[in-house]
Structure formats: C-alpha cells, structure tokens
Subunit: 193 residues, 2 copies
DNA sequence: GTCTATAATCGGATAGAC
DNA sequence: GTCTATCCGATTATAGAC
C-alpha cells in the first residue's frame, strides 16, 4: 500500500529563494540587495533565507555559480574556423547576456566587482586562471592581446546593458556583431607582443 | 593700522571634507561611503559635513564635478591630424586616469553607476548630450561607432584600474596605447552605418 | 519547516548648546 | 564654526516557539 500523504522535507522554497536572490543581486549588487528584499520577493520569511543558506554571502555564492560549464562553452568558441573566432565569441557573449540566468549572474557580478574587492578577486582569478590560460594555449595569442579583447567585451556590456547608452542599448545583436567582431578578431589574430 | 587678529569665517575645513569625500567615494562608491567615514578622514565632526553641504547627495555632486573644462579637453583631442585622433584620445584618457582628482572622479563614477540608477542617468546624459554630439559633429562619424570607441575605453579602464587583471594592470601606458589606439582610430575613421 | 521577536549595529539627518 | 546628543530607520543574524 502506498504511503499516505506528502513526504516531509524538500519543498521548492529553496529554489524560490534562489530565483529571488538572482533578481535582487542582479538589480542591486551585493551590498544593495538585502536578505529581507530577497525573502519578500520569494514570498517567504527572512529567517528562511538564513535557514537554507546560512548567510548573505553564501546566498550570493550560490547565485554566482556559472549556470553552464565554462570549459564546454569556451571550447565551443575556440573550435571552428580560426578567422571567425571573433564573431563566434561576440555571439556567444551576446547570447549569455540574453539568457535570464547568465544575464542575472553578469549583472550581479558587474554591480559587485566595482564595490567589493572580494568579488573583484574572484572574477580576476577566473579570468586569469581559466579564460586567459585556455584561450592563449589554444590560439597561441599573448595574454595582453586577449585582455584587450576581453576589455572590449566588458566595455560593450557596460555601455549596452548597464549604462544603456544610445544607440548601443537599442541596437540589434547583428549590428553589434558587425562592429565589434572585427575588433575582437584582430586582437586574437595579430600576434605582436 | 591693520586690523588685528585673523578674520573669522572660512577656514580650510570645507576643502578638507571635499578631499576626504573624493577618496571615500572613489574607494567605496556612493552607497559604500558614509558621512561618518568622510568626516573621520577629514578629521572633523560628522555634523560639519552636513553643515557645509547639507546632504550626502550634495557632497557627492560637489566631488563629481569635472575637474577640468570638458569642452576644452575634448577640443584638444579633436584638433590635430585626423589620422592620430585615436592615439590622442587614448593618451588623454590615460592621463585623466593618472591625475589624482580626475582618477578619483572616474573611480567614484564607476563604483556608483553600476549600483545607483541616478548616477547612471547622469553619466548617460553627459555621454549622449555632450560627448557624442561634440565628437560626431566634428568628425562626422555616426554615434554608433563613437559608442564603440567609448565602450573600448570604458572596458580598458575596468580591466586595468578596477578589476586589475594582469598583464593589463601593470602594462606601460605606451603598451596600452600601442594596442588600443588603432582600435579607437578605426572606430572613428571607418564611416559605415 | 515556518515564523515571531529581538539583539546588536550602523546609517543619515537634525536640534541646539557653546 | 564646531560639537554633543539624539531621532529614526534599516540591516544581518540568532534564539526559540509552534
């Protein structure tokens, strides 16, 4: 005979909190977001957030986990015709900025790197130890030039999604690609210093 | 006969507060900085800050005034050989990031634009109404391409001064110019779309 | 699992003495 | 011009009832 009633234990509260936290951190950054605000958006009591995650910092850490496998996604860009790597990279980046989960992660990171050195250190390490290593050993391009490409991508996102300067904010993805991809391509192709 | 004693009235307290505020806002952004912290660094009582400036917002506004005439400095870049405008722009930008006053202003803006929409709106307006207008009417380049150049400069500063990613953080100014200036030049030269 | 109550800080702003 | 004292609001985090 089947056991009666619903099993005690995991509801979806944890997921609701996580989703709310994603939004709040994306909108306001680490300092600006509050446990109370997250709890309110999740429709639960503030104490529940502590119950599930322990501290604000741990909620943040849970939200900022990369929503997809970085190695996989990098590999996807680095394979394929060498003379189109710039375009593939820009298109991937724009796609990440459009999917809700990774977009929220990016926004949260941007809004936190600038104000808390802890987050800055985290991102810096990922860039230096994962991105630069992987890209430079695959493409044979010096790190300085990769950092040039990276800086262009970061700046584009700042202008388009954070500052929302026109006409960049309202441009089509294709227009962005047409303008930015050649620059990325040249950073990753020219093999000077 | 000369009047005896020192005239009552303005001491240099106001300037001390302003200098302290510049540092605090640069380090922590608008939200992170506190009136109490500013007062402490200035060596005065917290009430003095309100006495001189009224509110935290007004202190911020006073600090964020451009320390030099924007029109003058833009004119300096836009005059001169057309095929070197990219290099002049990058060099000016790097110089502004090195002089303490403008550097503090930039850092304060970066650390606030990302977290408070009010500051973002301020900067957005300056970029759209002053920078874009002036540059596009002088060089005859479409705004979209100017925004590309701007985004590259913003991203470079983020990587070099905020994230401090290596090797970009420790590179010489000349290396930065050698890599970035051609990109800026191409944004401001190519006259497509 | 969920909530109330509360401890312990810290923030901006103001009133008013000297 | 400068300071003390204080109001009022908001925050993270915890203890413990149900």
């Amino acid at each position: 005979m089947a056991q009666a009633g619903r099993r005690p234990g995991s509801t979806n509260t944890r997921e609701q909190i996580l989703a709310a936290a994603r939004n709040q951190f994306a909108e306001k950054g680490y300092d600006g977001a509050t446990i109370r605000g997250i709890a309110a958006e999740a429709g639960v009591n503030a104490a529940m957030v502590h119950h599930y995650f322990g501290s604000k910092e741990q909620v943040f850490a849970s939200v900022m986990r990369f929503p997809m496998n970085p190695h996989e996604v990098i590999g996807e860009v680095l394979s394929g015709p060498r003379d189109e790597v710039g375009e593939r990279m820009v298109r991937l980046y724009l796609r990440l900025w459009q999917e809700p989960e990774s977009r929220a992660m990016f926004l949260g990171l941007v809004r936190s790197v600038t104000t808390t050195e802890q987050t800055a250190a985290l991102v810096r390490e990922f860039i230096e130890q994962v991105l630069f290593v992987r890209i430079s050993e695959t493409l044979g391009v010096p790190r300085f030039r990769i950092s040039g490409a990276l800086s262009q991508l970061v700046g584009m996102a700042m202008a388009r999604y954070v500052l929302r300067v026109e006409p960049m904010a309202s441009a089509d993805d294709d227009e962005i690609v047409a303008m930015i991809a050649p620059v990325i391509q040249s950073y990753l192709t020219a093999s000077s210093t």
